[in-house]
């Protein structure tokens, strides 16, 4: 809204329109000691929006474990930091861009990638890997295909252009996402440990510098949009969509890293949600200082912009920095070389106030601390979710012969190969991608070394729907397991907590339970949370998404000669690690084959999870494993089929001696399990060793031949498995016009 349009209404009315509650408006009066002007009101409203203030989630986020000896910086900065040895650190974070991606999938996803990249290189890290977790509505829903095409093209369009490989992610479909798709983007970067930059401003008198693209009228009130659920009129929110400029971002990365090699920067902060407002409040607030900004000096793309518009614009590809006095000219030269705007826009002061000058007038003058730090915190009412009852295996009918069920599962939207997605992503640029997409975790080499980072994202929303606490625990456990399966030592996670409206006690209850599950799993697996993001209001007309606490994990591979992939080799013995109980509640089999979505998710035994994983990791580190894959969606049969496809060789499974119904053994989703391919001659010793270590292990078959068989029966050729697995997504996507790429 323009200030003049607003003039006809009273301030309290405008406050409400801006999304401030009456109590929040009253608080703003008492902080200022007077009525705010329209610019100030705008600043209050974005700073106190859910997106910027975390007012509904703060109380709970504080309960997450965030420490470990290798954690250099936990939540609270632009991204989390862990030590990876060799004098280097990994910097990473995940963030949502759900709402914008639903309104304009290409640009929404693209700017999501751009935003998370900035969070990482702001800290001095060169981005080395991107991941993306995508949750779409039902494939039958009219909008889904359009959204998939746009989002995937947007993620690729941005990441490919900036030259950061997109190496992993997830892509699933469920009707609960029909009106709210989820686009969560994660970036991992690497920095020298002694060259990390933070956002805390210091040194009154130091210049405040603006770099990057010019400011336009785009995205005004994006932060408040992300803090509201969709009503019927999504259209009305459209003008807030922004266009990404990955070319400028690439220049910004190079220019910032070049400047960071000098000692010019005191503090730096990207302009994300709520643009100049939140970046200036945060930097000054953290340093306990004041800030004077001359808005006329801000590079502008359009004429006649008001102070309100300049402060709230969410134009992309911009950064705010505090420099050492006297460093301006050297810094300016670097940015001019990279053809980017550079402007000194203000100075730090000792007043503790934010003062904005515009057109010869004071456009705003407000204290920083009460806004940035003492912003509202709610203890929202919550109702513990009713846990879904356990579903006994004998309460599930075997609907199809197992090999037919396998075919169906391998080609169902959630399990079908996502090659169509990742082939649109440059996953090899930077020439360090050692393990490409398609495995449990991707591995990127730490440039110039023989060590690597393993990265993955995971969450199983149907488990979280059935039991948010166990589901969240499972998401963390699966991340840990995926990192372990490639031989990495899991270090830490980032999270992106996607939920419905926190104003509804049952949603808030899901959130609280989810936090508890994450906290328990992180503590037990020694894998703390170092960064994250909360995305509430993922609901349309009261219908919320399945709770989706998306987890992104980073692990360390000490020796790239000692990692594992899923490809089994002819002659390998197949060893199953872990306990099989035939758990079919909330399983993919139940949903896709039986057509039921019910039952409790598989229990997560964190102690067993850890014991099994530590054992597997030791084997891989000892060079004793040819292939490794964890068992997740679809169970054992699917896992072995995926290993056969990856290896291009068949496998004979022998599961005669089971006490459980065979289909429950094949399709149950019990946690804490892996399938290993090991040289046949070593299998017996390995099983004995496992027994000594208290880890359940047994030989379940042998790799070889052209077919996958079970107990000598049900042959399916590897070619058929691969074809079935690869076919669905390209076929689905070709079912309609190729959306024009933009």
């Amino acid at each position: 809204m323009s200030p003049s349009a607003a003039a006809a209404r009273t301030m309290p009315e405008i406050a409400r329109e801006f999304g401030l509650s009456d109590a929040e408006y009253a608080l703003s009066l008492s902080i200022l000691g007077r009525e705010p002007n329209i610019t100030e009101l705008g600043l209050f409203s974005v700073m106190w929006s859910e997106h910027c203030s975390y007012k509904s989630s703060k109380k709970w986020l504080r309960t997450l474990p965030t420490k470990a000896p290798w954690v250099v910086c936990g939540p609270g900065e632009n991204a989390g930091i862990v030590d990876i040895g060799g004098g280097q650190v990994a910097v990473f974070k995940m963030e949502s861009h759900n709402h914008p991606s639903y309104i304009e999938p290409y640009q929404g996803a693209a700017t999501g990638v751009g935003g998370i990249l900035r969070d990482v290189f702001t800290m001095g890290a060169r981005p080395v890997a991107n991941l993306n977790a995508l949750r779409f509505g039902s494939p039958d829903h009219a909008k889904t295909r359009h959204l998939v095409r746009g989002v995937v093209a947007g993620v690729g369009g941005y990441g490919n252009c900036v030259g950061v490989p997109t190496v992993g992610g997830e892509c699933t479909f469920h009707s609960s996402n029909n009106g709210n798709n989820l686009v969560n983007a994660m970036t991992v970067g690497i920095a020298d440990a002694d060259r990390v930059f933070y956002s805390r401003a210091a040194g009154p008198g130091n210049p405040v510098v603006y770099v990057g693209s010019k400011t336009g009228r785009d995205g005004i009130h994006g932060a408040t949009m992300a803090s509201a659920s969709f009503g019927g009129e999504v259209e009305a929110k459209r003008p807030t969509v922004q266009v990404g400029d990955p070319f400028t971002e690439k220049l910004l990365i190079e220019a910032c890293l070049e400047l960071m090699a000098t000692d010019a920067i005191v503090a730096i902060q990207d302009m994300g949600a709520a643009g100049l407002t939140s970046s200036s409040f945060e930097m000054a607030g953290k340093g306990g200082l004041g800030l004077e900004l001359d808005l006329d000096a801000v590079p502008q793309r359009e004429t006649g912009m008001s102070a309100y518009e300049i402060m709230l614009s969410e134009s992309q590809e911009r950064m705010l920095m505090v420099l050492r006095q006297g460093a301006e000219d050297a810094a300016r030269r670097i940015f001019e070389k990279w053809e980017l705007d550079f402007a000194v826009v203000g100075r730090l002061t000792e007043t503790g106030r934010l003062v904005l000058r515009h057109g010869g007038e004071i456009a705003a003058d407000m204290p920083i601390a009460p806004l940035a730090e003492a912003s509202p915190e709610y203890d929202r009412p919550w109702r513990a979710p009713a846990a879904a009852p356990m579903l006994a295996a004998d309460a599930v009918a075997e609907m199809l012969p197992p090999p037919d069920a396998l075919r169906k599962l391998l080609s169902c939207p959630d399990l079908a190969s996502k090659r169509w997605v990742w082939e649109q992503y440059d996953h090899m640029v930077m020439a360090d991608t050692v393990r490409r997409p398609g495995g449990d975790a991707a591995v990127v080499r730490i440039h110039g070394t023989d060590r690597g980072l393993a990265v993955t994202t995971d969450c199983t929303p149907r488990y979280c729907q059935a039991d948010p606490r166990t589901g969240a625990m499972q998401a963390v456990a699966e991340v840990w397991r995926n990192l372990t399966a490639v031989g990495a030592r899991p270090l830490a996670i980032t999270d992106c907590l996607n939920f419905g409206s926190p104003e509804r006690p049952e949603v808030m209850g899901q959130f609280v339970a989810g936090i508890q599950g994450i906290a328990d799993a992180c503590a037990a697996l020694d894998m703390p949370v170092v960064s994250g993001n909360v995305s509430f209001y993922n609901e349309t007309e009261g219908a919320a998404i399945q709770p989706t606490p998306q987890i992104g994990g980073v692990g360390l591979v000490d020796d790239l000669d000692r990692t594992a992939g899923m490809a089994i080799a002819d002659g390998d013995a197949l060893v199953l690690i872990g306990t099989t109980a035939g758990h079919l509640g909330a399983s993919l089999y139940l949903r896709e084959i039986v057509g039921r979505e019910e039952g409790a998710p598989p229990p997560v035994d964190l102690a067993a999870e850890r014991m099994h994983g530590d054992f597997v990791r030791r084997l891989i580190a000892g060079g004793r494993v040819d292939a490794c894959h964890d068992i997740s969606d679809g169970g054992l049969y699917v896992a072995v089929a995926e290993m056969a496809i990856a290896g291009g060789t068949g496998a004979a499974l022998h599961l005669e001696s089971e006490a459980l119904p065979l289909f429950a053994v094949l399709f149950g989703e019990d946690q804490g399990r892996y399938v290993l391919g090991v040289p046949a001659a070593t299998a017996a010793d390995l099983v004995a060793e496992a027994a000594t270590a208290g880890v359940p292990a047994r030989v379940i078959g042998r790799a070889g031949g052209g077919d996958l068989t079970v107990n000598g029966d049900w042959p399916i050729s590897v070619q058929e498995l691969a074809a079935v697995n690869e076919a669905w997504l390209p076929a689905y996507m070709s079912g309609q016009r190729p959306e024009e790429d933009r």
Partner: protein, 229 residues
């Protein structure tokens, strides 16, 4: 051998190719910013992959107008070997050092994956390490790799033995779905008349290290080093 790598705003495979060159030559190439108007003496000039100027307007169009390109053209004219990979190939066609143009992939989407290439000629300093007819595996990663030229130009390329690589299947057969982008005649890379300028869409530098799953690309750099040492 002293190589130079030209860096344009938006280049993003400059470091990758520098690493591959250093592995082959035992010494790093010089990295030259596009604004430079004179080039140091060099045995090889490399235009790397990436998205110079964001691929805005047309891939390679704005980079082709960079100050440094005048000098690159002059050196190429004097016989200095030039290698343009992916965006580098696009720049070479845009500045007229190679014929034809690279249009949007026929599938319209960006494609990143390994492809099989048939080596069509070993008669160049870039391809001398390969045998004609040999099948090699390089990755591609591009949005605009659909090579187009008028029939006379294509005939001239063919008659002059100037098609360096063609997309093929693992058995070396061209056609039948092996072409990832719709290029005319399955062309993946071409030489200029003098045979000292090679442009190709696939990235040899991305499979030039066994750690990354293959080293077919390393031989291109090894061959260059051998020839130019």
């Amino acid at each position: 051998m002293q190589a130079v790598v030209i860096v344009f705003p938006g280049s993003n495979c400059d470091r990758d190719v520098a690493v591959a060159l250093e592995r082959a030559a035992g010494k790093p190439p010089l990295m030259i910013w596009h604004r430079e108007t004179d080039l140091p003496l060099a045995d090889l000039i490399v235009l790397p992959g990436g998205f110079s100027y964001g691929d805005y307007l047309r891939a390679g169009a704005m980079a082709a107008q960079s100050p440094v390109m005048r000098e690159v053209r002059a050196r190429a004219g004097a016989g200095v070997p030039v290698l343009g990979i992916c965006n580098g190939f696009q720049i070479l066609t845009e500045c007229g050092l190679l014929p034809g143009a690279l249009l949007r992939n026929s599938g319209l989407a960006f494609v990143c994956r390994d492809v099989w290439l048939r080596v069509e000629t070993a008669d160049s300093v870039h391809t001398r390490a390969y045998r004609p007819g040999e099948v090699v595996r390089f990755p591609i990663a591009h949005h605009d790799g659909n090579f187009r030229a008028d029939p006379d130009t294509v005939r001239a390329l063919e008659d002059g033995d100037r098609i360096a690589f063609r997309y093929c299947n693992p058995a070396g057969e061209v056609g039948g779905g092996a072409n990832p982008n719709g290029s005319v005649d399955d062309i993946a890379g071409i030489l200029n008349e003098r045979r000292n300028v090679l442009g190709l869409m696939p990235h040899p530098e991305r499979l030039a290290d066994p750690r990354l799953g293959g080293a077919d690309g390393a031989r291109m750099f090894a061959g260059l080093v051998q020839a130019l040492a």
